[in-house]
Assembly symmetry: C2
Homo-oligomer: 339 residues x 2
């Protein structure tokens, strides 16, 4: 590999979005006198009577959670998208808006308040994967739902308001910005090369073997060449699948293993319950041909140097481009060493 990438400031192209990231490898020696995050490594109890996600507890709207044993899904009590609001469009000169409807759900990964995905057995993570599949199908059947966004905010620093292991699903009528970009880039590639962008990329990555963190028979875990967040990671099936419903049962288990391996490595990295936002990008549920789509899950973790020092995506990053200090290659190597 070109060693310049480890020494000099440069830009790398995210082939999935068409956007660039600025990389400043020489900058990681910068001293830090800014904000430190609070961490609590305090062990949580398996059940907390004040947690609105624990089994048998009452939520703010008065509903009582069932005595669930595995995974539990319910409609978000404070949904960002409304299901039955009126349809409208504003096209008034340079003011442009339209109604957006949708369904938002919360998914508890386990009844055990003390756990995170990193602490769960692979077979229990697989149960979460199976619920994601079911939700993608049932939400997607709704005629007003054309995209299903599955994600998790883990840790207070990532805006999670409850430490109980849980994720969310926001499904809606149009494609969100990030999905639109990836839809365009994958379609362009598919139309010109008659091949799948991400499958071809993964082949090249497996050959280069510089950013691979882990693999099993069906899945690769790697730091993308264009990663933005310090320890960003992508999990993807080696062979193209449009969405997560295309997995066999064995593949779902191997996917669960990949999630388990990377979340455990994360927790070891700075010896803390590692915060991140994760999300799955996959084909829209719009009844169109989506052969150009290759689904993948990404982890965007904010920590940079330790359990208390994160990367701030602020001024330059908001007005210019995302910027990173350590290279994707170094980040992958550090994570790989923890497996």
């Amino acid at each position: 590999m070109n060693t310049h990438l480890q020494d000099y400031s440069h830009k790398r192209l995210n082939i999935l979005t068409g956007e660039w990231v600025l990389v400043s490898p020489h900058r990681s020696k910068r001293p830090w006198q800014g904000q430190n995050e609070e961490i609590s490594n305090e062990k949580r109890p398996s059940y907390d009577e004040n947690c609105y996600l624990c089994a048998t507890n009452t939520r703010i709207n008065g509903e009582v959670n069932p005595d669930y044993k595995d995974v539990f899904v319910f409609t978000n009590d404070f949904a960002a998208l409304q299901k039955d609001s009126p349809s409208f469009k504003i096209d008034d000169g340079l003011f442009k808006a339209k109604s957006e409807t949708g369904i938002c759900k919360v998914i508890c990964f386990s009844p055990d308040h003390s756990k995170s995905l990193a602490d769960m057995d692979v077979k229990d993570i697989k149960k979460v994967v199976n619920v994601w599949q079911q939700e993608y199908i049932s939400l997607g059947k709704n005629k007003d739902i054309n995209y299903v966004q599955i994600f998790e905010n883990k840790g207070a620093v990532m805006g999670s308001s409850n430490p109980h292991p849980h994720g969310q699903i926001w499904s809606q009528s149009t494609l969100p910005n990030e999905v639109e970009k990836k839809d365009n880039q994958q379609l362009k590639y598919y139309n010109t090369k008659n091949s799948n962008l991400l499958e071809d990329y993964l082949k090249q990555e497996l050959e280069a073997n510089e950013r691979i963190i882990f693999q099993n028979k069906d899945f690769v875990v790697l730091t993308p060449f264009w990663a933005i967040w310090p320890f960003e990671v992508m999990i993807a099936p080696k062979k193209t699948q449009e969405n997560i419903t295309k997995m066999t049962d064995e593949e779902a288990l191997n996917y669960a293993e990949a999630i388990s391996v990377i979340t455990k490595a994360y927790d070891k990295l700075f010896n803390t319950s590692f915060p991140y936002s994760s999300g799955i990008h996959q084909s829209p549920t719009n009844n169109k041909e989506n052969k150009h789509w290759h689904w993948h899950m990404s982890f965007y973790p904010p920590l940079l140097r330790s359990a208390t020092v994160k990367k701030f995506m602020v001024g330059y990053e908001m007005f210019g481009s995302p910027q990173r200090d350590i290279t994707a290659e170094l980040a992958a190597k550090r994570l790989k060493n923890l497996i």
Copy 2:
């Protein structure tokens, strides 16, 4: 105005980037049990012997700051962009990268460690504006510099590592992502309408008078229709100017007044030194015709409900689209009432 915009979930188009923001007006009643930010309303001294930005102090690299009286600019000791690194390009299948060179500077707004722009006199803010103009010109003259990004990260929550009033300037050889988007959108409009996108938009806003926070003879301060951050604000000249060097002396003073008015209102909002990232988007220094550009300054502040509760741009926002709870109209009204 369509009252649906205050009641139902919808998307609004950012005409400058071509991207959408999801607005959930009904969601602002959500209870908050998540992370609270630390605030320090403690008064700082006018001089701090440990501050590497105060006059006459020694910086980490051994250089001694002059005994400056107004504004002081120096080259960033830990620059993200290098000036004289080798030029290279990687075009290896789906791995695409290129070298990026540039010059990064730090600009101290005042020798007084205790102040922020909100505490400075308008005539002193004007001195900062004048230095921005000079830097734009002198950096832009460099043959390898095609864009000059001026910005400020204010407050520890925005990654600022030093409370001394200061901003930054990162100048570089290519256009960053956000600038590229705005360049495209403004050019498209200019070519089809033979008119300037932002000037036309400001006219429409002044007429609608729903999101205007303040105006003087030359400048408008408003919450854009498509604002992302809870109390996001834009300052722009009423008549098109490509970049900040086009201002007359009187206009520079009126611009300084606009900065003063909005930063003071911000500090009153939650009774705290209000954190934000601000930045100026303006024409590239690429020696091309940039008649389609209308410069503007934006403020992206994270606080949502109080001095300690911010909006987290996390899971859905990272994987989908930015999302906001209070509408631009309500935010503008609250800020306007503080002037």
